[in-house]
Symmetry: C2
Amino acid sequence: MYKIEVGFKDICEAYTRIKPYVVKTPLIRSDKMSELFGSDVWFKLENMQPIGAYKLRGAMNNMLAMSKEDLARGVVAASAGNHSQAVAYAARMQGASAIVCVPESTPMNKRESAVRYGAELVVYGADYAAAEEKAHEIEREQGRKFVHAYESSETVAGQGTVALEVLLENNDFDAIIVPTGGGGLLCGVAIAAKAMKPEIEVYGLQTDTSAPWKKSFAEKRLNNDCPFIPSIADGLEGEITWPNVELALTCVDGIIVVSEESTKEGIKWMAKNHHLMIEGASATCIAALLEGHEELKGKKVLCIITGGNIDLDKFCKVCEAEYPERD
Amino acid sequence: MYKIEVGFKDICEAYTRIKPYVVKTPLIRSDKMSELFGSDVWFKLENMQPIGAYKLRGAMNNMLAMSKEDLARGVVAASAGNHSQAVAYAARMQGASAIVCVPESTPMNKRESAVRYGAELVVYGADYAAAEEKAHEIEREQGRKFVHAYESSETVAGQGTVALEVLLENNDFDAIIVPTGGGGLLCGVAIAAKAMKPEIEVYGLQTDTSAPWKKSFAEKRLNNDCPFIPSIADGLEGEITWPNVELALTCVDGIIVVSEESTKEGIKWMAKNHHLMIEGASATCIAALLEGHEELKGKKVLCIITGGNIDLDKFCKVCEAEYPERD
């Protein structure tokens, strides 16, 4: 089985490479959440990247690590979310052609977002697994490089630059919380953070509607035997794979599961208090604080606000709902 | 009558002073608006300042230009909007006490926002003029410095740092559009821009519901004889005064008036396409582009996105409305 090999030096290299192409996103303190949570809470606003999500870092690092020959043959990726936009955007920036494979269930607006940056769209199969299969077929047939959304050393190293960037600016944090889907960001952040400040705790966040990381991490083996229910945090949905779990077991401190309801409340909280539109995945950070998880109490906590790509109708619906009063 | 004296050197001085206390906000290109408008459109995201608006620059510059004795006596301001938050925040940062005067009509949430940063709130009178009168009374009685929202050299110089910051990063713009209420930002931006690149055109923006700048600028005299209707761009509402008009006549190229409807549409456009929550004043930039004003056609345009402090209910209502199709 593939093993992800990423050290701190790879993250430093990645940062040097991608720096001219990504935004140094704002790091802001939330006075309101700090007061509410009785702690010191900061947000790293990766929703301010050009494609609206941190995924640009990993995609850009993949692109810049390639040989000229590989770039000339182009790339292929599978994803209906931010990764496809990131690959399309990064490929265009390097003058490479990109194909993005999405399953037939992908809604129109998500299809468009990949095409917007000049990628060719291939719609194939009933689910993500089928679309990825198709992407690998294209990889073999056309000699294109497959850019994996989380299970690749270059991707993990690229995502880890988020933590490197924050800790160069302010290295005073006790804990970092990281919305976690495949685990590329979680591992990258943990590797960078532990190298720069070994005592920092790093936690992955999932919603109770899709939490394969919880058991897998606790049992130190891949365990996808849990419910998978469509979630407002659509970027975090789905089964996971062993390589990222294996890597996380070497550098991550734990997994925190938050409720679907708190996640929605987190979106509204952020809009109301910080006038920021964030996507469901990002809102798991707010949810973890609102739910008052013990691991974070009294600490200086860094929240990675991973992205802001949320459908406007969905956003307004979530913001107009009422949520139970908190103590 | 008071004359505002601001040169480029004052803006440079202001920038050196306030730089440690304000955020270098993102400058992003809008591919979508560029395509739509057939031009090259960029946003300076001052909504990313800690208080959610550029006003922090002016308030901070006032505070840092004061003597220790003045700081010890504290400050006083009048405003129900972003300026009061800015003064409260800047005062707290410098360990000074602040009093903010608002009229009785000020809604609860706007009253709270001033208090949040530790200012003392004085609610007085039927309108802004009465509240400002009260603030001047406190100024005289307590020896506090009155921090004016737009009609002060320190304020104008502070706001001008927005343009200085942008043009140091990218000085390739043909035109800058500036949401305009009192005119402090408009004048500051124009003075900085003309010093750094004389051929840049600078335009002020107002809504047709409150557009005293249009006639005043055209007639080269103060003319507040126009309708004043409550607007979604509440930060731009109200009568203006001569000192800012006098200054604008030396450095500004024109005033563009946009419709109330386009301004609302601008809020929705920004949320839908960039996942950014912006307040009505900022949305006049989007409105000017959507309306296709000739002054901006084919140019590289910089939009100052002045702030993001919009009530969430109001925001959702505006975003759920439908707007006429554009050609």
